[in-house]
Subunit: 142 residues, 2 copies
DNA sequence: ACGTTCACTTGCATTTAGCAAGTGTGAATA
DNA sequence: TATTCACACTTGCTAAATGCAAGTGAACGT
């Protein structure tokens, strides 16, 4: 489901802005870990968040990431991220009328989680290695 | 696939110890976040790790968690966790001959990740609330 | 005006999740 | 010893999600 051009909430600009309806499924339990996994628990969602943290903002950029997310899955994940308030849409600077994605406050709050995941991966996952342009822990300037 | 009684690695004790063969799929990319998600990226795996951190060690305990993991999925996740070296099996203390699960060092290293997930859930997930016996940040004694 | 890029959608085969029921072994009980 | 019970799974089946290739239409560049 993805209403493209409609009245009501999520006013469309040239058939590009998705309508953002609140959300779907009920939580499996009140456990905060479980609730987080209800939103983030799959193989792709956090990779999109990673890309957003790295500064990517457009569909093609997410699709071009080395893991190769299928476009229908990407479309679905962006939709969920919008509905759960982790990202929102803004007109692309160099090209208004085209929409890009960015993290909301709620989404930016995922940075420590991504960093923990990166750290564990570096320490314990066999094939992982530090990458140019990977998520960095912010440091106070010297 | 789950060899129950066999010679070779993973010597069985009364048909309860799973054979632990290295692992399956190749990494999607060398990104440490992606590599972590290759192992942890689904709706159940980290809930099992949470239970292990909470001190649970047996199949029935995981199965009894409020999220209600199906037993076939639980079986599969324990298998993967074993193969990826995040948990191992030990005889249950009060009842040797019965096997329980526990975190390895690699698995214990997931604690910061779980804590980050708990923190984000508490701060941003609608239905989340702190639970008795939930994952706690260890504090230095006063 | 025309072709290209972009952001998706659609169709379809394969895989995984979810549910209920069944199986074999060890432990407890009669 | 025979029965029952609990436990740790497995099996079978349906529904949903994933993965891949191809298609669509608005926007952009020329």
């Amino acid at each position: 489901m993805q209403v493209i051009a409609g009245y009501g909430n999520g006013v469309s600009i040239q058939g590009r802005k998705r309508s953002v309806e609140p959300e779907g499924e009920p939580a499996r339990s009140p456990c905060p870990v479980s609730c987080s996994l209800d939103v983030l628990g799959d193989r792709w969602t956090l990779l999109v968040v990673r890309d957003l943290i790295l500064g990517h903002s457009r569909f093609k950029d997410f699709a071009a990431s080395p893991e190769g997310i299928p476009t229908n899955v990407l479309s679905d994940r962006l939709d969920r991220l919008l509905r759960s308030g982790i990202v929102d849409q803004v007109p692309v600077e160099e090209n208004p009328g085209r929409m890009g994605y960015q993290l909301t406050k709620k989404g930016q709050a995922l940075r420590p989680l991504l960093e923990a995941m990166r750290d564990w991966g570096l320490a314990w996952a066999p094939g992982a290695r530090a990458l140019r342009g990977s998520v960095k822990t912010p440091r106070s300037r010297p």
